[in-house]
């Protein structure tokens, strides 16, 4: 499938391969942080510009859909983890929260693929990207509280922590960067924007390649932890994005009525899961949960699945749906 030959995806494979053959290739940790900052600002600015021609008022359905995904998908995930997998309540809650959120890396890969095929898309999905992290963290907290209640355990002085986490969900650096960059992209004048475009758009796709190469190495590292995580969870890490994608596809096509590109992006948002804002929040909120469970799932299973198989497939199905249109 030629869409797999998008450089971004090839660089992801490069990183994963380097890790699997135990190469000593290693990117400095700060490099990763710097590229993430750059990419988030880039998506934000680009998203903000798109709104100049798309009335913000029309974003309401997208916002609703984002909240729906952020709240609904973790509940579905929790039910599957508890009911089918018999995973203990607190680990289930922590894992579930990740699936209500999104992966900016997956989203950008999808954008890279659409761009390289000259497929257009709506301006609204980027708003969903910015929104979905917060409700997912909230619902994770609710699920954890519920889990603790059914386990009859003491509610260890969470008051302070809860308000801390709710603050965190709204002051989180990545979310803020995305939102505020959208605002900046929206307000700056065209000549001003032209001056910063070479940096934030011109070299964006190249920088994304470096980012995905790094992500590939990280995903490769996590694969060695499949044993500790167990077969059920690995399977869950593949099935859950498919479930999310199904909802995403239906919502994108029938409710939001977006173009093929837009439906693909909405599907990717619903199918992907977080590895930026949610892990630290869950570590704080549910210290009893095992981080290697949710990190292995999000970075080692769902992320590579979406990059390599998911994104091209979602696009193909979106095309199919539109054809039936």
């Amino acid at each position: 499938m030629s869409s797999l030959l998008v450089p971004a995806i090839l660089f992801f494979a490069l990183g994963m391969f380097a890790c699997l053959i135990k190469s000593d290739l290693k990117f400095p940790p700060d490099m990763h942080k710097m590229i993430v900052i750059y990419l988030l600002i880039g998506i934000g600015l680009h998203g903000g510009r798109a709104f100049i021609n798309s009335p913000i008022g029309d974003a309401m359905p997208a916002v609703l859909a984002a909240f729906g995904f952020g709240i609904g998908l973790p509940i579905i995930a929790y039910i599957i983890l508890r009911g089918v997998g018999k995973i203990d309540p607190l680990n289930s809650a922590a894992i579930a929260a990740h699936y209500g959120s999104v992966s900016a890396g997956t989203y950008m890969t999808a954008v890279a693929m659409l761009n390289s095929m000259n497929v257009t898309y709506e301006a609204y999905p980027v708003i969903m990207l910015a929104i979905m992290e917060s409700p997912a963290i909230m619902i994770g907290l609710v699920l954890a509280g519920y889990s603790r209640k059914i386990m009859g355990g003491a509610q260890k002085g969470e008051k302070g922590m809860y308000s801390h986490l709710i603050r965190e969900a709204f002051t989180n650096g990545s979310i803020l960067l995305l939102f505020l960059s959208m605002g900046i992209g929206y307000v700056v004048s065209e000549p001003s924007y032209k001056k910063i475009e070479p940096f934030f758009e011109g070299i964006f796709m190249g920088a994304l390649c470096i980012f995905l190469c790094d992500m590939g190495m990280e995903a490769g590292k996590r694969i060695s932890e499949f044993k500790t995580v167990g077969v059920f969870l690995v399977l869950f890490g593949i099935v859950m994005p498919i479930i999310g994608a199904t909802f995403g596809m239906l919502v994108g096509h029938y409710y939001l009525q977006y173009s093929v590109g837009g439906v693909t992006l909405v599907t990717v948002l619903a199918a992907s899961c977080s590895y930026i804002a949610v892990p630290p929040a869950m570590r704080l909120a549910i210290p009893e949960a095992n981080p290697s469970f949710y990190l292995t799932l999000s970075l080692g299973v769902t992320f590579p699945f979406n990059i390599v198989i998911g994104v091209p497939t979602y696009y193909a199905i979106a095309q199919h749906l539109a054809g039936q249109g």
């Binding site: 590895y275 892990p279 630290p280 570590r283 990190l295 999000s298 970075l299």
Partner: protein
Amino acid sequence: MIMRPDTLIRMKRIEIVVDEEALGDLLGLCRTAGVRGYTFIKHAGGLGSRGERLPDDYALEEKNAVVILACEEQQAERIVTALRPRLKEWGGMCLVSDCDWVIGPAASY
């Protein structure tokens, strides 16, 4: 030690490990307790009652800070007393041991 007593003073060496975010509070507490010198190293990792903390982890970066301080015995006691109630809130541990301070022109203990 055969060194003459005008070279060394008997002191306490305190070594504290806390979450890096709590370092500012800890150092504030030390200064309030009258400490006149300390050294800290950030970006440490560790294992403790709350599990592993890895400073270079990809998605879950958790850092500790190590604080080393030399002071007189009474001072040490003040610090330990002030620190104890807050120690586990900040994460971490505190070790006290004996050491000799090499006397120099400026005394920052």
